[in-house]
Amino acid sequence: MSTRLTRGGRLIDRTTSQEFAFNGKKMRGYAGDTLAAALLANDQMLVGRSFKYHRPRGIVAAGPEEPNALVGLGKGARFEPNQRVTTTELFDGLEAESQNHWPSLEFDVGVINNSLARFLPGGFYYKTFMYPRAAWKHLFEPIIRQSAGLGKVPKERDADRYEQAYAFCDVLVIGGGIAGLQAALVAGASGARVIVLEQSAAWGGRAPVDGDLIEGGSADGWIGAAVKTLSLMENVTLKMRCMGAGVYDHGYVLADEKVSDHTPGDGRPKHRLWRIRAAQIITATGAIERPLSFAGNDLPGVMLAGSVRDFVVNFAVSPGDRTVVVTNNDDAYRTAIALKEAGLAVPCIIDARASVTGVLPAKAKALGIRIEAGKAIAKVKGGKRVTGVSLCVQAGEGSVLEEIACDAVAMSGGWSPVVHLWSHCGGKLTWDTANAHFRPDAARPPTGADGAAMVVAVGNANGVMTVAEVLADAARGGAVAAQAAGFTAEAVAAKAQSVAEAAMEAVWVMPQGASPKLRAKMWLDYQNDVKVSDVQLAAREGYSSVEHTKRYTTLGMATDQGKLSNINGLAVLADALNEEIPQVGTTTFRPPYTPVTLGALAGESRGEIFQPLRKTPMHAWHEKNQAYFEPVGLWRRPYCFPRAGENHEQAVHREVINTRTALGLLDASTLGKIIVKGPDAGRFLDMLYTGVMSSLPIGKCRYGLMCNEQGFLSDDGVVARIDEDTWLCHTTSGGADRIHAWMEDWLQCEWWDWQVYTANITEQLAQVAVVGPNARKLLEKLGGMDVSKESLPFMQWADGTLGGFPVRVYRISFSGELSYEIAVPASMGAAFWEALHKAGAEFGAMPYGTEALHIMRAEKGFIMIGDETDGTVIPQDLNLGWAISKKKADFLGKRGQERNYLASPDRWKLAGFETLDGSVVPDGSYIIAAGKNANGQGNTQGRVTSTYHSPTLKRGIAMGLIKGGLSRIGDVVEFNTVTGGTVKAKVVDPVFYDKDGEKPNV
């Protein structure tokens, strides 16, 4: 059983006991424990179930590479799924739940999948697609859906807050082990601004666990002194609990600081996401131990040898009384020695190497530990925990020589440098045969804006494995980075004595001639249940690319992203393909290094400050008057102004009727307003619009269309000629910024010798549409200027004052009624709006919102950008040929519209539709045509683009595109509906109201 030792534990404080709960069971640990250490101290070996087969799983590792021990942490609004117990700091009151089991961790029904394993081979998911369709829909999909997903989605809104911060430095050191600290000491001494990131809550990494001696003393002593020296340097910043997540272009790095994960609810942000820009980056990210592939290597109690050592030395936790060590290298002997020195039993060290000669094996032997050279584990015995191993010859096929009883297995297949951050932005790797791992290729580093290296890998992360070499390499890297950032640095390294280690021997399958039955129990990817046999099957089925094999078998696709399984998996693949490992290569390393919670990525951008909110000068009035808002771009516009007892639809209909019969007021401030000015402004607008704007007389308005170069309609609006060289272009509410940028693009990049200025003055002006038969009466009451038909006819504008406000009045109408659109300085918008309401009360003035606006324009057959257009519609499709100049030699979109497909008479064109039963055609409906297409889908001949109940006509009206357009008037067509069934409608003229346009022109 796993338990707490009575002595030792360099990271724990035995005077501070902490209570926590696992699956509701109360347990105790110490301050300084990780949750993993505390669980093991309480003999909780079984911590979860695997994804596919629901096999019992225990803790394998002691760090971020842990694949098995994921828990749901916290409760309610602080619940987080998929938290690794090995990187979770224990705190008093912590509550954790194991995942992926039903009904309980101890008794899981899903484990039945285990006995069905031969029906769930590699590529299982893809194979299910191949069978008859009915099998997927009725058999496989329900089963996969039932078991899919790891962990539970939090149900409540996150109670915590997250923030983001920026930082800048000359040298960023990622990793606070001895390599990172040494590199930081050298770079810091040069005067460079240095930031050091350490993902865990302790400096120094694994050196103290390995018992390394530095400068004649303990590693702990040197680490303490180094941290003190660095913290006294003003140019150095140390950040603990801060994981370097990703390296991006030009020295940009994301880092996730776990500010209060271990002190939840203390008021501080939970995480702080650092956005760091560094001139040079040092990756001192260490190495991760590889498992060995033997049958039953996934049973609870089988752990990485280095991690067993971590638990013993750091937390005084023993994974078992009797631990068998299995290895292909000398390093694992340190674990055997540490266990022995802690008073625990090591029945045997099983070493796959035929000859064992190193210093560490000699020391182990001297401690009385039995060493079996050239041997292997044939199989691990046990169910929910290890009970023993069977010994066999590594060179053989797995014939059992002997059973060895034990309750833990410490395995080591060698160490792989953490090359993720080196690789994120293009750093290449080289295969190191001696250590059987990929390490950074210094000749092909990630490069920065100047084309020179921007990342330096040091220490274990650089494939340098012994302590003296690590320190020397780190000092070199610190100096290289500081120099590259423009500082003078000297690579002075601390002295250390390394223990000589004999060569390791690559072992990818144990024993090497293992039978298919054994290989089907050798796990590569623990979390996703991918075994040696699955990868070999994929190879037999023709998957030769490592990227394809990954996706086919799901190897390395779990939340640990293959930190343990990567090298072993591709070694097995290479062997199956009869290729060399470097030729097979690795899959792509992508950020983040370990998962970053979405909260940290969102930061403070949630709720009201999710995105900027644009408000018109009248916004406060709308709020006070119960406006129901809708988003229009970043604007919020009143959709309608419901009165007591009214629903939205009733309010909209009242607003339409009131505007058509009395007086409506619309806040039109969001309308885009762009000034175009200069000697070449007319010529420029003639290129931009399909019509002619240069000929527009001063004082007049003209409707215009803008197309993109492909000829598709992009925006519309009324243009007013202000003076000889000034035009004011109205754009759609959402389109002002886009159109302004479009203008600038052409002016700066194509016609840069044309003398034109543009200014987007949308927010400088408030604009109100005064609409309805009583509109003129209201303005005359306010007084100050002549607004009669004679002085200010339709489609003209004039400057003046109204009720004391300086105004510019446009006689334009989007509703089909007598209408004045009146602009005032934004600062007067609210006052002017209120003055209109006050004076307009006697004429029946009411505000109306965007929905009434939409209905009234649809009743008039006016198009709306985004309704009638979708980026594939040309003005000709909307019967707007009249707004396209035939005389102009060129305008943006003219050449595009000449393409034969756009000039085809078969295009769907605009028409109006009236349902026979008066109902409203559902949004998104298509007009059905006879027959079926090649895919067996019903043919179509058109679609609806705008559809409303017209309160004016008291029936459903619609606009839409139909093959043949207006030539189809009188035809009866059928629209499909989402719910099935059809709606019959008659094709009509799209102008439903005041066809001759008499109403606005009074």
């Binding site: 030009h250 490069t447 920065g448 600038e744 990049c749 194509e750 840069w752 060129d890």
Partner: protein, 107 residues
């Protein structure tokens, strides 16, 4: 997250301050051009792995469009220059040739 220096205001702008405008030095083909010319202008893009000329706008800065020469593979930036340029400046072309002897020119 590239950093490009705006040749107008001199600011070393991060990508979030910029908006991309894709390939630079395209020649516009309008009415009277052949289908092939128009198709090439509208749709055919080089998309090279290597030296590339791009349009960028310093949208959250001075608002000016500029052009940038960079290596899409190594992310090296060779230089930036005003959009009002019919071709890349000669010294920039020389610099690129010196660094990338195999470069075939911007056209």
């Amino acid at each position: 997250m590239l950093i490009l220096e705006c040749p107008y205001c001199g600011v070393k702008a991060e990508e979030t301050e910029l908006s991309p405008g894709y390939e630079a030095h395209l020649k516009r083909f309008g009415p009277g051009s052949s289908d092939e010319e128009f198709e090439a202008y509208m749709f055919a893009r080089k998309n090279p792995k290597g030296v590339h000329f791009e349009r960028w706008r310093h949208v959250y800065g001075c608002g000016k469009w500029f052009l940038a020469a960079r290596d899409t593979n190594t992310l090296e930036v060779f230089g930036t220059y005003p959009a009002q340029s019919s071709e890349p400046p000669a010294d920039l072309q020389d610099k690129i040739k010196a660094k990338r002897p195999d470069w075939k020119g911007y056209k």
